[in-house]
């Protein structure tokens, strides 16, 4: 895996979480320690593997990022110093922003709203939902 993958999801996830999946060597300690694997369709270490392989669409279908409870056990146990809980959060953020082809631009707002809303909120909203 190089610094920039072919997958937009993964690049965004990386930006959100500051984590680089390429340093994982698949020891599966995260899956061994995770308290909610019973409800997952992909185990935590498999999520990282999918990230490494750039299997964006399969990840998008997976329930696992939504089952993750952010208890940070995986992060505490990881021998490679990876914070998988943050990566899961990064995946969730990316998914949420894309849900139903989320797109959002100045045209979606009335002139009223454009006047009232704080500038910063507008700019960051456009930035988030125009990927």
């Amino acid at each position: 895996m190089t610094a920039s993958s072919k997958s937009r999801l993964i690049d965004e996830m990386r930006m959100q979480s500051g984590q680089d999946p390429s340093c994982c060597f698949q020891c599966a300690k995260c899956s061994a320690a995770c308290p909610v694997t019973a409800a997952m369709d992909l185990l935590p270490h498999q999520v990282i593997r999918y990230l490494q392989l750039g299997l964006e669409e399969d990840l998008a279908k997976s329930k696992t990022p939504w089952i993750c409870a952010s208890c940070f056990t995986c992060a505490a146990r990881c021998p490679r110093d990876l914070d998988l809980a943050r990566m899961m959060e990064g995946i969730r953020l990316v998914m949420l922003r894309r849900r139903d082809g989320n797109k959002f631009g100045p045209a979606d707002l009335t002139p009223e709203q454009l006047k009232k809303l704080p500038q910063q909120a507008l700019v960051s909203g456009f930035r988030k939902y125009n990927k």
């Binding site: 061994a32 146990r77 021998p79 110093d81």
Partner: protein, 661 residues
């Protein structure tokens, strides 16, 4: 006027890839004193050296600058070439345009001007070079080996066989080290004691080997050929000459302490030998735990000892000896896995490290060779082995692979099946690494013929329930989570450097890497040398290793040591300090800062207003001086200079480098 020849090496594409050779050569021709400049694809090759030699003769060169790799690589090569062409070898200067230039810069526009500047600096320095002569040093034909494990024993035997006297210093009461703690050795299942004890005895009986056990090296001074060493021989409280090793004293001793040899899993007496095959077979009184030393009563051992060998008055002794070479072979420790809360090590008696589990197989171990649970003495039905506990873990442990765990785990699982045919072993692993002769076959045997279940994954939690340990893990290949009710858990704890390795390194004068393992001089080509001439390393103090590698390295270190010891005289340091006694004011600050006691006051007579005047001035002994240059800076009258690194030469380099401004 100097006549300097400059030679630029392409090093294939290593240098030529990012340094414009043609430009560099052209620029070199304009440097002051340069009368000849040339380049070649591989200067260090025979052909390349011939080019230099011929140029020296054809152009009547009196100094040479080579723009090549680091002087730490090939300075000697080019000095030798120059001296074969009739030049003094110290008339050669190296400009490091590979490691410090072409390899660290990515494009020609950056690397080429820098290479030119570096060659210019070397030429400026070379213009001021003087012919130098290395003094001869007498070699003390005696070797010191620190550490009496298999590495130290093998090194000592090899040096002793070559006819040189060896002192083998061991901190513990007996030699043997880690290998003595093992039951069997992979991949042949040789009994460890059976192959080690003959070597221990051979070392003890060899006329050229002096065992100095229960002792530590306290101070090392001097340099290759003449190391002056202080060894503290701790008081054994036993007269070694009288003692017959009958063992009555430790039979009768009432005081107990945890046994270091049994990794604390069994007790020993306060007067003890660490294990039955100990060499020398002379007990030691552990004064921390002895009732007589603690409370002033008891003395049972002294009363019971038939030859009256117990001596409570014995004091530590300091041995002061001189050695030509030193070999450090101080071995390794095991990481304490209690930093991994999820494994529960230290909270339950049936969770052991690999080395502790090994002792259970041993007839003189904590359980007299029965593999049983330490909690209730029952033989285990299910044993879980966990790999990489602290290895390959940059978050909480060590970032490296400990190299031996995969193999000893396979060995222990196999031995367990031999001892307890009903027992079942599970191994949680990340990767199985079996690079070694017969290693892969051995591990496959464990998996295929001995029913050892290999699970590719890790363990998340271990907790006691009823009378077993619940091991919760995952098999990453099937994606299944696994729960095993185990009777015992064995943790393959990382092999780590000894906690006091850095301290010993400082005493001896060698440095360590970031994991505290001793640094070799070159990771590939000088694996047993250190950066300090005359000091070598062997065994697991350099990096985790198995026994075959350790023995091989011990032999290599011995050969290097013998090579030095076989010389009558060594070439010393040519770049030494010299005093201009006419200017020296005799303050002797230099004497105070010299780490080698190489500077002494001398009386000189000077003509003074028609009479003579007696003055004290400093004088450097060139065979003691190692050329650090501390004295040159402390000198208030500026009358000391360092040959080969004179003030003028360094300033000339500064000027040449700053010429781009």
């Amino acid at each position: 006027m100097p006549r300097t020849g400059v030679f630029i090496c392409h090093c294939g594409t290593n240098i030529a890839g990012t340094v414009d050779i043609e430009k560099t050569v052209k620029a070199s021709r304009s440097f002051p004193g340069v009368v000849h400049a040339d380049d070649y694809r591989y200067l260090c090759s025979e052909m390349g050296q011939d080019i230099i030699k011929n140029a020296i003769k054809d152009n009547n060169l009196d100094r040479v600058v080579v723009g090549t790799c680091s002087p730490r690589m090939h300075e000697q090569t080019f000095r030798k070439a120059a001296s074969e062409a009739g030049l003094n070898p110290y008339m050669v200067e190296v400009a490091n345009i590979r490691e410090h230039c072409s390899w660290v810069h990515r494009n020609m526009d950056e690397a080429t001007p820098k290479a030119v500047a570096l060659v210019r600096a070397a030429a400026a320095k070379a213009a001021l070079n003087d012919p130098l002569e290395a003094p001869a040093i007498e070699v003390e034909k005696r070797a010191l080996v620190i550490g009496g494990g298999i590495a130290g024993i093998q090194t000592a035997l090899d040096i002793a066989e070559a006819g040189y006297v060896v002192d083998l210093v061991e901190r513990e009461p007996s030699i043997g080290g880690r290998m003595a703690q093992l039951e069997k050795t992979f991949p042949t299942l040789d009994c460890s004691a059976c192959i080690l004890t003959p070597k221990m005895v051979e070392a003890a009986q060899h006329p050229n080997i002096n065992l100095i056990t229960y002792s530590e090296v306290e101070e090392v001074k001097g340099f290759v050929g003449q190391f002056d060493v202080k060894i503290r021989q701790k008081a054994r409280s036993i007269d070694p000459v009288k003692c017959t090793g009958c063992g009555i004293c430790y039979e009768k001793c009432p005081a107990k302490a945890p046994s270091e040899f049994e990794m604390g899993r069994a007790k020993r007496k306060a007067i003890y030998v660490p294990f039955p095959q100990a060499v020398p077979n002379i007990p030691v009184i552990d004064r921390e735990n002895c009732l007589y030393f603690k409370k002033g009563r008891c003395q049972i051992c002294a009363k019971e000892c038939p030859p009256q060998a117990v001596d409570y008055e014995q004091q530590d002794e300091i041995l002061e000896r001189r050695y030509g070479v030193i070999v450090v072979a101080t071995g390794f420790d095991q990481l304490d896995p209690s930093i991994y809360g999820e494994y529960g090590y230290g909270q339950h008696p049936d969770i052991l490290t690999g080395l502790e589990f090994e002792r259970l197989f041993n007839a003189s171990g904590p359980t007299a060779g029965k593999v049983v649970r330490l909690s209730d003495g029952k033989p285990p039905k299910k044993v879980v082995f966990i790999q990489c506990v602290g290895s390959r873990d940059k978050a909480r442990g060590m970032n490296y692979c400990s190299k031996i765990c995969c193999m000893y785990t396979a060995k222990q699982a196999l031995l367990l099946k031999e001892k307890l045919p009903d027992a079942k072993s599970y191994v949680f692993y990340i990767d199985v690494r079996t690079a070694g002769k017969g290693y892969e076959e051995f591990q496959r045997r464990a998996a295929e013929e001995y029913d050892v279940a290999y699970l590719r994954g890790q363990v998340g939690k271990i907790f006691p329930e009823n009378d077993y340990l619940v091991v919760r893990g995952v098999d990453s290949l099937s994606g299944k989570t696994i729960e095993i009710n185990a009777d015992m858990v064995v943790l393959a704890a990382a092999a780590i450097a000894r906690s006091d390795a850095t301290e010993l390194g400082r005493i001896v004068g060698i440095n360590s890497d970031s994991y505290k393992f001793f640094n070799e001089a070159h990771p590939k080509l000088k694996p047993v040398e250190t950066h300090t001439a005359g000091i070598f390393i062997a065994g697991a103090c350099q990096a985790p290793k198995d026994i075959p590698d350790t023995v091989a390295q011990a032999g290599a270190a011995a050969v290097k040591a013998i090579g030095l010891l076989s010389k009558e005289l060594l070439k010393g340091e040519a770049c030494t300090a010299e005093v201009n006694q006419a200017e020296c004011s005799g303050c002797l600050y230099c004497e105070a800062v010299c780490p080698y006691n190489a500077i002494n006051p001398v009386e000189i007579e000077e003509r003074y207003h028609g009479g003579t005047l007696q003055r004290t001035v400093a004088e450097v002994n060139p065979s003691l001086c190692q050329g650090c240059g501390s004295c040159t800076v402390i000198c208030r009258s500026g009358s000391i200079n360092l040959r080969g690194f004179t003030n003028e030469q360094i300033l000339a380099e500064v000027d040449a480098i700053c010429l781009q401004r």
